[in-house]
């Protein structure tokens, strides 16, 4: 079906323009009919998407330019960009943005290394392949809130086992200072989502031709050289996709911070900030401005990955 749809994302601009001007027509009745069918088949999905994603996004943008506070129904009206001004001029926003970036960068970096190691192990496993792959995936199958509670209780001084371990002081209050709290939050994120990273990388590894390794081995390349010269370059598309997905995901970190510190000890993320404005204060205007800013940042991250790092988006995957 997809071959019948002529406009590919990566198509050279010239050719597209040519067709627009009504150049040499190759569109037969059959392709026209197929296109129509394709549109009709896509329509329900597109309409559903519009309803459940585009409408709320647009509504949030509209709300973000208004003064809306559910507790004060009589005071409302259009205020332009002043909500954005309030957010961007607040030191809290910048502090929370820094915190979010810190969690994102650290956890994704650790996940990448661990995920790669796990993927290599799963790829090369000689026995019990299925069991190993299933076992590695368990943390990813656990609901984030549940995982966050499990880690919270493990590190909690009154109920946890961690403080009973050797080398750790019995009285250590893990959520009582910023550094330790961040450590636990990042560990939770890493534990939870490394399997996701590993799985995407494993899929990438499976596409690499074994023959290349054999040839390299014959030429006397060491394991280290084979990894850096063959695995990493050929894995790059899968690697960047995995990094992109995880970065976008990590940037919206909410559950573990909410469960463990509620943002205290200066561990607040931008999502928690949005929650406080929207749910605690019921200040829908200000809260929507925070949400829209998070949305824009997520778009920016995706743009940077695709544009500058050359992450392949699915439709042009074959070009890479």
């Amino acid at each position: 079906m997809s071959t019948a749809v002529p406009t590919q994302v990566g198509e050279p601009a010239g050719r597209r323009a040519q067709r627009k001007r009504g150049g040499p027509t190759q569109t037969t009745d059959r392709t026209k009919a197929e296109r129509k069918l394709a549109l009709m088949l896509c329509a329900p999905a597109v309409i559903a998407m519009l309803l459940v994603t585009v409408y709320p996004i647009l509504y949030a943008i509209v709300l973000s330019m208004q003064k809306v506070d559910l507790r004060f129904p009589e005071e409302s009206g259009f205020v332009g960009l002043s909500n954005y001004g309030a957010v961007l001029s607040s030191p809290l926003w910048w502090q929370d943005l820094f915190n979010t970036s810190l969690v994102t960068v650290t956890s994704v970096a650790i996940e990448l290394v661990l995920g790669m190691a796990l993927a290599l192990v799963m790829h090369r496993a000689l026995f019990a392949r299925g069991t190993i792959r299933t076992a590695v995936l368990i943390p990813y199958g656990i609901v984030t809130v549940v995982a966050a509670f499990a880690w919270f209780f493990a590190f909690d001084p009154s109920s946890g086992f961690v403080n009973n371990l050797p080398l750790i002081p019995d009285e250590k209050a893990w959520f009582g200072n910023r550094q330790d709290a961040f450590t636990v939050i990042i560990l939770t994120e890493v534990w939870k989502t490394t399997p996701f990273m590993a799985l995407l990388l494993l899929a990438g590894l499976a596409t690499i031709d074994e023959g290349l390794y054999e040839a390299a081995r014959v030429d006397g390349a060491s394991a280290w050289q084979r990894f850096w010269r063959i695995t990493v370059p050929l894995l790059k598309p899968a690697l960047l996709v995995a990094l992109l997905f995880r970065t976008l995901d990590a940037f919206r970190v909410f559950d573990s911070i909410f469960i463990m510190t509620r943002g205290s000890q200066d561990t607040e993320s931008v999502s928690i900030l949005g929650y406080n404005q929207l749910i605690s204060r019921l200040n829908l205007g200000l809260g929507s401005a925070v949400s829209v800013l998070i949305f824009i940042l997520v778009l920016l991250i995706a743009f940077v990955f695709v544009r500058f790092l050359g992450t392949a988006v699915p439709s042009q995957g074959d070009k890479k």
């Binding site: 559910l70 507790r71 309030a86 204060r281």
Partner: protein, 428 residues
Amino acid sequence: MSGRILITIATIALAVGVSACGGEDTSTSGPVTLNWFIFNEPSGGPQKIADRCSKQSGGKYEINFEFLPAQADQQREQLVRRLGAKDASLDLLGLDVVWTGEFANAGWLAPVPASTERAVTANVFDSVLQTARFEDRLYTIPIWSNTQLLWYRKDRVRTPPKTWDEMIDIGEKLGPTRGRIQVQANRYEGVVVLVNQLIESAGTSILAGPKTVKLDKAPTEKALAIIGRLSNSTAAASNITTSTEDTARLGFEGPANGPSDSSFMINYPFVYPSAKTNRPKTVFPNMGAAQFPAVEAGKPSKPPIGGINIGVSSYSKHKAEAFAATECLVKPDNQLEIATAGGLPPVREDLYDQPEIDKVYPGFADEIRRAIKNAAPRPSESPAYQDLSLAIQRAVHPTTKIDPKNPEPTYDTLRDNVEKAVKREGLL
């Protein structure tokens, strides 16, 4: 063929839908169902009295429970989402005492009619009624109250301290293996309670009116200095910056296989039955109760006030029945029932003369009565109370950062934050 099947299905769906919608409204015979959204109070007391009232109504109404989560902020979140969407399925609302202002200002609560007001306010503590009013109108009906006492170890401390400074002195003398003080100072509502009660006990208050900040400098700084002193004292619990009602309870009860390092705890009365179950031989027999400590000797303290008030949703289709139901629910016998089942203090002062209350609070019923009588509510007269709460939390947490010798920087932040919160400006 398939078309006919579709039509049949659609007709059935429509018929079911219509009957489901119509059933509630048009029924002239049979009791109306009143949905009571409230957290699942573990003793089951509320269910018992609701069943009793449904029966006594003579077929007028039937109270149905819709349970909310255990955490207060999650309860609020669910109520707010439904009320924000004008959900008509809510009739009775179990509201935390600090939500009255914001729910009333949002137009979510039906004001209590005069006839009901007379019936439900008789003999009720003034401090409790203060939490039920907004702009001089009664919007909610108090059903049970709560307050904090000072719990101490009778075997280690002969007479309970009257002031915070005295308590910290004794705690420091007893040392970190025996003299710790358990409070609530994590960044959540609990630390707002601590700060508010100390400020009130020092002789000032956070607000002077719904939109005016009070916070007189000298007494507020005195209150903050005490919090700073406690937090940095050897008598503070090691987890003070993350402490809650529950960590305080666990800290006071101590480990199962050794002595507790704590001799003092500020907490609600639920800790009493808890110690009885968990440490029946060690901690429980030595547990004493006294008033929330004062800031200055000779100036009585202002203990906190908690509990539940019932509101009637302004979107309810059965307001008359709902108010009749609340009148029944808060009857003296029913309040006693709730106290007996779940240990929740009644809101009517005259009930503290009943022998049942002495059984629920053996030896400290009068302390609870006095604490509720002297209690000072949090500044929930402001509809922006959640803003205030967040602003206060941000200003004082972590309490270890308050310099007891120079509390001025914290005072300045607090004042600044509270002023912004009252105006609902900026991010919080």
